[in-house]
């Protein structure tokens, strides 16, 4: 077993015991990037020098035993939507090509303060809009479990990096499933925290009322460790919650005995692959065997979550992306004869097709005369979905279901049909609209490809979601399955 195969928890212990150095560890991961990076295409930018500099600093810290934190010396990857001071941050878009922010995101600062090592910026769908990573403005990412398959999206680069040993852990962002769905499709753990749990300051916005940053890791313990490092109130983000952050590790091993877990019948959607459904049913049975009581529940408005999401998210995006006009930073088209032309050419050439599609959808939904019928109506639906969850959580402690109705599909399979692509997120979107948290944890393979179990817990009960996921993980070996790319190096 090489160093890059290990988890944060193991590596932390080894670093602490001075068994290994952060530089050795970082070099091990950089070597793996070197070895498989051109096959996964997980990274847009590898910050080798920065990583080694940070690794040296972490080793100093470890040597002096001064303020050693769980993330000290751990090499992690950052989704390209996160701003890192003086490191190119493009959100996977050509329109931000060459943009180096003069500041770092709050989560980046927090990880820096912990002494983490930044490997680079991971590929993603442009402005986090997509479910397959094929909307990257640069190149698609390949799934380490099958290089002809998509890794999911939009945090596909982060997922592929963690699943291929090109990072010990990564940060992603989740607006409608963009952490959980790629986690499921690459056999790793992905947690979408409750809106407001993690500061969005420095996260290049897609849909401001839905975006959340979260951990993508090899197992549930690592998920808890990474969440612990980034969660908490930030005065620079007015939508971040002042609620105290609990000690996630403290309750992780408390098990599910006596817990009531609900299975929303609406989450077994039409088109779900039988092998996926089988894995989920098996996983639910396993949790029952662990002492949880299982009951079927209903979230009656689940079917309108997707359409509501495709109003709200594009509406916010159409406004959030207005700033990319070529005037101050990023891409600027040449040859414009006047201001309007400058705007039009820059945006025509700088944005990809899916981004343009959503800007148009959102602009339309907010237009005078259509606002009430679309945006306002979608907000009402959002309230119904919030109420669905509230009602369910009076009966059960948490909800179980699939993360994705399918396993990783072949590259190009859905690029011609946007709606088929949107349907990937049908069971992840409600958690974003409903202000709850959710985690995807590996629950087996179907035809050799990973399946993810989704655990949804009430708002700010990440402790509960992690605890259930950990109980499942502890009773199974699924999370130990390694992608061929990672395993080959073992």
């Amino acid at each position: 077993m090489k160093l890059f195969h290990r988890t944060i928890r193991d590596l932390h212990q080894m670093l602490r015991d001075r068994e290994i150095s952060s530089v050795e560890l970082t070099q091990s991961v950089l070597d793996q990037i070197q070895a498989v990076g051109d096959r996964t295409k997980a990274y847009l930018l590898v910050t080798k020098e920065l990583a080694l500099r940070q690794a040296h600093a972490a080793d100093e810290r470890l040597r002096s035993k001064r303020d050693v934190r769980p993330m000290t010396g751990i090499p992690i990857a950052l989704k390209d939507v996160l701003c890192v001071k003086e490191v190119a941050s493009t959100a996977g878009s050509k329109i931000l090509k060459g943009f180096t922010p003069p500041y770092s995101a709050t989560v980046v600062e927090r990880l820096e303060a912990e002494g983490a090592v930044f490997l680079g910026k991971t590929n993603c769908d442009e402005f986090a809009m997509g479910s397959s990573n094929e909307n990257s403005g640069y190149w698609p990412v390949h799934n380490p479990w099958g290089l002809d398959r998509v890794p999911g999206g939009s945090s596909g680069g982060s997922a592929a990096a963690v699943a291929s040993g090109e990072a010990i852990a990564a940060l992603g962002s989740d607006t409608g499933g963009s952490i959980r769905q790629p986690a499921a499709l690459t056999g790793i753990v992905g947690l979408k925290p409750t809106y407001g749990r993690v500061s969005r300051y420095g996260l290049i916005a897609f849909a401001s009322s839905l975006d959340q940053i979260g951990p993508m890791t090899r197992d549930v313990v690592d998920s808890a460790l990474l969440l612990q490092a980034i969660a908490g109130h930030d005065p620079r983000d007015s939508t971040s919650s002042p609620k105290p952050v609990p000690d996630y590790l403290a309750t992780l091993g408390d098990g599910v005995k006596g817990m009531r877990l609900g299975v929303p019948k609406e989450y077994f959607v039409a088109g779900m692959e039988p092998a996926v459904e089988q894995s989920i049913r098996d996983a639910i049975r396993l949790l029952e065997q662990q002492g949880a009581s299982i009951e079927e529940v209903s979230l009656p408005h689940s079917d309108v979550a997707l359409p509501a999401y495709y109003i709200i998210a594009p509406a916010e995006a159409s406004s959030n992306l207005a700033r990319y006009d070529g005037v101050r930073y990023g891409y600027q088209a040449e040859g414009a004869r006047n201001l309007i032309e400058e705007y039009m050419l820059t945006r025509q050439q700088g944005f990809g097709a899916e981004v343009k599609r959503r800007i148009m959808l959102g602009t339309y939904a907010l237009s005078s005369g259509y606002y009430d019928a679309y945006y306002l109506q979608a907000q009402k639906v959002r309230t119904l979905i919030i109420d669905d969850f509230k009602r369910a959580f009076t009966k059960v402690d948490a909800l179980l279901g699939a993360t994705s109705p399918t396993v990783a599909f072949p590259l190009g399979a859905k690029t011609q049909d946007p709606v088929a692509m949107y349907l990937n997120d049908i069971i992840t979107i409600p958690a974003n609209l409903g202000n709850v948290c959710a985690i995807s944890v590996p629950c087996g393979l179907a035809d050799g490809l990973p399946v993810g179990l989704q655990v949804i817990a009430p708002g700010f009960r990440e402790d509960l979601a992690l605890r259930i996921a950990f109980a499942f993980e502890a009773a199974t070996e699924f999370h130990k399955a390694q992608s061929p790319l990672m395993g080959a190096a073992a």
Binding site: Y201, R236, S238, S319
Partner: protein
């Protein structure tokens, strides 16, 4: 104008933008100093709209808005929120302005003022808060400029928008409204009232309708009026222009027109046929605000005496005419200058006359505000004292005031006036000296006996008789002469 006024009724509503006097910007910690700072010095990721940056509300700006709204008798709803107003322009770095759409901090107020003694009331639709934009600098004329530069120092400066109902019926009323509004904003310390530098800006919606009609005519929005005079002239011009269009059987188009002060006319800027759709929606980066009643009452309790109340008090306490009281209270510094002069002992009526007369005339000629003058209440009070005690003629007083006004320090001119009002002539002083000698035989005897102290007493008596105007050096000499 009167012929027009009988045929058509003039309808004017005003939108006043006032920059809020805060140290830091609306949504970030940058300084609001955009007039003197080097270009783009006071900027950060938030006010430059860099990707990933987020706004944080400046509580003081909200407080100033509520303060203004309370001074304008508005209702303050318990629930308020910010919205995004979306449009593209290079001075707008996010591609949207954070403003307030359907739930502003306040609504339904009014402002009372008067036009030549006649009371008027104008409804206030709302007072809301938004952020200012950056400023474009074109190289040459805008249509030929080869390049434009953007200075974002002003980007994110808090800006209040005060929207009036279409209750104003003439250019006179509109001007008075803005003057009174400006006075209130200065009184409560939320805005410095500077129209020239754009810290107070005014747009007017002007329309005509047949006299007696209750429907509103086609409105024209007039922009770019940088003074009270410009507001008055622009509205007068629009009334004449619109009357001519209507009288010749034409139709008015809903449009925006810019006031050209040099040419004295308005020029069409854009028509509203292709109305801009701002796609307002709630700002998702800022949670809605609960405006607690406790906070509102705290702000209300902190309001100073407002012009209307002060005006009434000036009439009641100092016996001023309502007109004079109204003028004196039109700016807070002027009202305070007056009260301080009176407090120091200046007679109220005379103090008011001087402030509103000679002083205002000189200030107006220099485009200066009273607080910028070197003349302070103590100087005016001393001058008035010289006049009152009879030593200084009216003509002399005017000359003295003029000299005081134009000197960097008024003290020498005042001292000179004091000197010139002294009784120094021996002939005039002789009578005084004789009287003092006659009435103070004992002191005269004491002095003869060699007590220097007694002479000082005698000089004092003579000063008293002259009400301070006798020249003490001459008294000393004359007394010695006569007694010995």
């Amino acid at each position: 104008m009167s012929a027009i006024a009988t045929k058509y009724e003039v309808v004017v509503g005003l939108e006043v933008h006032a920059q809020v006097l805060t140290q830091s910007k609306m949504f970030c910690g940058c300084s609001t100093d955009y007039l003197t700072a080097p270009p783009n010095a006071n900027t950060c990721p938030v006010c430059l709209g860099l990707p990933g940056s987020l706004p944080v509300i400046n509580r003081r700006a909200v407080e100033a808005t509520i303060r203004t709204a309370l001074a304008l008798n508005c209702e303050i709803p318990e629930f308020s929120k910010f919205d995004r107003k979306n449009y593209f322009y290079p001075d707008l770095p996010k591609g949207y302005q954070i403003s307030q759409y359907d739930l502003p901090f306040s609504r339904r107020g009014h402002l009372d003022f008067d036009v030549r003694g006649a009371p008027c009331r104008c409804g206030i639709t709302r007072v809301h808060l938004e952020e200012d934009t950056g400023k474009l600098l074109h190289e040459g004329a805008i249509h030929e400029a080869q390049s434009s530069l953007v200075n974002f120092n002003r980007s994110g400066v808090p800006l209040m928008e005060i929207v009036s109902e279409p209750d104003l019926r003439s250019a006179d009323e509109a001007r008075e409204y803005v003057m009174r509004l400006r006075a209130i904003l200065q009184y409560i310390g939320v805005n410095n009232g500077d129209m020239e530098s754009g810290q107070l800006r005014c747009d007017a919606n002007v329309s005509l309708r047949p006299a007696g009609s209750s429907e509103l005519g086609t409105k024209v929005e007039v922009k770019n009026m940088n003074s009270f005079r410009a507001i008055h002239r622009a509205i007068e011009y629009e009334v004449v222009r619109q009357t001519e269009v209507l009288d010749s059987g034409g139709r008015l188009t809903q449009e925006t027109r810019g006031w050209n002060d040099a040419r004295g006319l308005t020029v069409s800027q854009r028509t509203k046929e292709f109305a801009e759709d701002y796609r307002y929606f709630p700002e998702p980066d800022l949670p809605p605000l609960d405006v607690s009643r406790h906070w509102v009452e705290e702000i209300r309790a902190g309001l100073p005496e407002l012009p209307a109340a002060r005006r009434e008090r000036f009439v009641a306490a100092y016996g001023l005419t309502p007109y004079d009281a109204s003028l004196l209270t039109s700016t807070r510094p002027m009202a305070e200058f007056f009260e301080e002069t009176v407090r120091l002992g200046g007679p109220a009526k005379a103090s008011a006359n001087w402030i509103l007369g000679d002083f205002s005339r000189l200030l107006n000629a220099d485009h200066k505000e009273i607080q910028e003058s070197s003349i302070k209440p103590t100087h005016l009070q001393q001058l008035l004292h010289l006049v009152e005690t009879g030593g200084l003629s009216g003509k002399m007083a005017k000359q003295t005031f003029d000299a005081m006004y134009h000197a960097p320090d008024p003290a020498p001119a005042l001292a000179e006036a004091k000197g010139s009002s002294q009784i120094s002539g021996d002939a005039e002083l002789a009578g005084l000296v004789d009287q003092v000698i006659a009435e103070n035989a004992k002191s005269v005897a004491d002095f003869k006996a060699g007590k220097e102290q007694a002479l000082k007493f005698l000089i004092g008596q003579a000063m008293k008789l002259s009400r301070g105007r006798a020249n003490p050096q001459r008294l000393d000499a004359l007394l010695r002469e006569k007694i010995v």
